[in-house]
Amino acid sequence: MKKKKNPCLLYGAALLLLWIAAALLVPELSPYTYTGINADIRNQGSSCLHLFGTDKFGRDIFVRVWYAARISLLVGVTGAGINAAFGLLYGSISGYVGGKADFLLMRIADILASIPSLLYVILITLVMGAGVESIIAGICVAGWVDMARIVRGEIIREKGKAYIRAAQMEGIRPLRILFVHLLPNVAGPILVNLTFLVPQAVFTEAFLSFLGVGIAPPSASLGVLIQEAKSQIQLYPYQMLYPMCILCLLILALRLFGRGLENVYGEKTER
């Protein structure tokens, strides 16, 4: 079969790879560090020495932005990963077992999801202190619920089909039916949803950091950078512009990639 062109997937993947490479390499290769303060060069504009200029402490914004990007990515991927794994397990058990257990499990999920996630984060930050771990924990408390609902729906739709009944009659153990027979058939929508979970987590992290309940200085995430630049936005707007652009780029790349995957999956299901 001739492979159809899928620009979304191609450009999304390219942008994402470029972005990840920059986030990993820039802080390592740059002569500056993200904490290095230099009082002589405060609030400078873009130049050859400092591509994105410097902030109010004279730190190089280019390095700080990519360092922050690293943390954002870490939070995004881990958060999404944990959410996906737990949601997958929870949703598939709920969907496959059905009946009362399903009802109970989904109501618990509903209760968890009904409380704003900001409250969880503030609570966890109070207990564990500000940091990457508490942000991830905050994102994950209720973030898996959407995933669990999607997985449950897919499993319920698929498990009524005759091949699952045949597998049950052959006496295959429930766990094997779930993982070997059911999950490969519902993988498509779940995979697509996963790629949307990552930008969601990244954005939540940026938002929380912006509000000041996220990563503690001097460590920085994109949200922290944007928040720091807020006080100087009238004088030095570029200090906010750069981290915002980088954040937008990441989310765009991830969305494109997700959309591309969706197209691939959509083609496969059309028989």
């Binding site: 001739k2 045949a166 597998a167 049950q168 009659m169 052959e170 070997v180 028989r271």
Partner: protein, 599 residues
């Protein structure tokens, strides 16, 4: 004079850079008021050709037509423009009606487009159309939603919509295929009547020789996109020229697949008074109107094929689920080789029920789309706790069983979508057989297949039975199919087993009124007989009566006692009938005489 003349109709599809010719140089004509049949197996391009005529083909199709003359006008043919004065009745009435819109409104939409008028006139027209389509009390029906109607009623609504444009030509694409036998007979009557009343020509597309025989004057036989034979119904049915037509006809006629008498006396599975009732949203609380099965008793002996016939919704599949242990009966007893299984715990029950495997109707859904045929077979072996096999042994067994069902070793690594429907069903049979079951439950296993493939699968099942002496519970709505393969048969109606006994006896001499109606409704693939056939009058589907005989509402032999209580089973030799006609009181004394049919 011809109403429609078509010359050299071609339809091509472009897919993945390849051209697929679905319809090749089709030429035919339809006279005014004539009923013309098009017969062919699925995938031969019947529906595509009809859609091209209607102008319903999508953009990816490429259609051209040498000559297209409709209503005496030399018209230009356009595959994307819907023709006026031409209407279509589709196969599946369940998916062609909008479930959220009342049927009156749906018909009115068609009326508004074609004839306009004010609201009152339109409403009157809708009433007329519904009446024409054989729906009584159209005023009340108009405010109902599609889900409140039975399949036959829905197909009538679809017919009413088709009639809204005063069509000169009605294209009916498999209009009866999704319906039960009795309803199918009524649809045939209706279409005939409409053709007569409106003087519209009908182009009837079907794979069923019986339906074609009972309606059509001229018949075209289609194969791989072309008409290979044409002629009057008599010519095609009594003197077919092409071998393809002959084969199709042979498969359509009842030819009993020879069965060796391999059954023994040992009873493998016995059900006695098994009951399982569900209540749905509408019948909650009303005990008598619950759906399900009631007081079912029958036995299957080793090596025997037991057929189970009934309309859709009569509880056949529920019974299959009970037999295979997926559901537990509410009451009654089930014995497997004299072990009572219905009281056992789920895990213990599994041990006995491992010996029962099942083949499902829908070949697309019964195989895991992400597993190759070989993998599916090896999965089935892997779960077998009685014998632990190595991966190598499992593979060997899988290849062996594939060969047994008429597939090759290469088919091991094919995915389900790479198989045809018949091949998929073979894989399903292989999967059921690989566990060496003693009883095979076939739930409508051949209903979704073409007649010739049906025959192949039935032959295969018989062949397997001869070799392995496996017993078979064969569930179908098609009396023809059950008659071909089974030794004994049970007839179900609304959850009750109304008649039970030797297949040949029941098929030739039905005792229960319902069995008789079933037999009469099956259209014969023989035009002379089929045209004479009287179908049961149009009747709406009846609710199950609160008490008394389940067949009460439809029965022509109803008596006073039928309304009071459900008839018990009367046994005469191997035959059991649940009808008061065979009660002692009704026989009036002469009890020494052997019982014969009372109807």
């Amino acid at each position: 004079m011809s109403l429609l003349e078509v010359g050299n109709l071609n339809v091509q599809f472009h897919k993945d850079g390849k051209k697929i010719r679905a319809v090749k140089d089709l030429s035919f004509h339809v006279g005014e008021g004539e009923i013309v049949g098009v017969i062919g197996e699925s995938g031969c391009g019947k529906s595509t050709a009809m859609r091209a005529l209607m102008g319903l083909l999508g953009k990816e199709a490429d259609a051209s037509c040498g000559r297209f003359c409709f209503l005496g006008e030399e018209g230009t043919f356009s595959p994307n423009k819907v023709q006026k004065k031409m209407a279509m009745i589709f196969q599946d009435p369940f998916s062609y009606l909008n479930p959220t819109v009342k049927i009156g409104k749906q018909i009115e939409q068609a009326v508004r487009i074609h004839s306009g008028g004010n609201k009152k006139e339109r409403k009157q027209r809708v009433c007329d159309l519904l009446e024409m389509a054989g729906i009584r009390m159209p005023k009340q029906r108009m405010s109902q939603y599609p889900h409140e109607l039975s399949g036959g009623m829905r197909q009538r609504v679809v017919t009413a919509i088709a009639l809204a444009c005063n069509p000169k030509l009605i294209i009916a694409d498999e209009p009866t295929t999704a319906l039960d036998v009795i309803v199918q007979g009524q649809m045939i009557l209706l279409l005939k009547r409409i053709a007569k009343e409106t003087k519209a020509a009908v182009l009837l597309v079907s794979h069923d020789f019986g339906v074609i025989a009972s309606m059509c004057e001229r018949v075209y036989v289609m194969k791989e996109g072309t008409f290979i034979e044409q002629g009057t119904a008599e010519e095609i049915f009594y003197a077919p020229q092409k071998t393809y037509t002959k084969d199709l006809l042979k498969n359509a006629r009842r030819t009993r697949i020879k069965a060796d008498a391999t059954e023994t006396e040992e009873v493998l599975l016995k059900l006695s008074n098994v009951t399982k009732l569900y209540s749905n949203r509408f019948t909650q609380g009303k005990a008598a109107q619950k759906e399900g099965v009631q007081n079912i008793s029958f036995a299957i002996r080793e090596g025997e094929t037991f057929g189970l016939i009934g309309e859709s919704g009569c509880g056949k599949s529920t019974l299959a689920e009970i037999v295979t242990g997926q559901k537990r009966p509410d009451a009654g007893e089930m014995y497997y080789r004299s072990f009572r299984t219905d009281l056992l715990k789920k895990s213990a029950r599994k041990k006995y029920l491992e010996k029962i495997q099942m083949v499902f109707q829908d070949t697309c859904e019964s195989l895991n789309p992400k597993m190759t045929a070989g993998k599916a077979l090896m999965e089935a072996l892997r779960a077998d706790k009685r014998q632990i096999l190595t991966a190598e042994e499992r593979k060997e067994r899988a290849v062996q069983i594939l060969k047994d069902v008429g597939l090759t070793e290469e088919d091991m690594w094919k995915y389900p979508k790479e198989f045809s429907g018949g091949q998929r069903q073979r894989v399903c049979i292989a999967r059921a057989l690989i566990r060496n079951p003693e009883l095979l439950v076939c739930d409508e296993a051949v209903s979704a297949l073409d007649v010739s493939i049906q025959t192949q699968i039935l032959r295969l099942l018989k062949e397997i039975q001869r070799r392995t002496r496996i017993a078979c519970l064969f569930i179908s709505h098609d009396l023809e199919v059950v008659g071909k393969i089974s030794q004994n048969v049970g007839v179900m109606y609304l959850g009750s087993l109304v008649e039970c006994g030797n297949t040949q006896e029941i098929c030739t001499d039905p005792w229960h009124p319902y069995t008789k109606q079933l037999l009469e409704c099956k259209p014969d693939p023989d035009p002379k007989k089929a045209r004479r056939k009287k179908y049961a009058p149009l009747r709406e589907r009846q609710e199950k009566p609160n008490k008394g005989c389940p067949y009460l509402g439809q029965c022509g032999y109803r008596m006073e006692c039928c309304e009071k209580a459900a008839p018990p089973r009367y046994q005469f030799g191997s035959r059991k009938v649940a009808c008061f006609l065979y009660s002692k009181e009704h026989r009036k004394g002469n009890t020494d005489m052997p019982m014969t049919s009372q109807i």
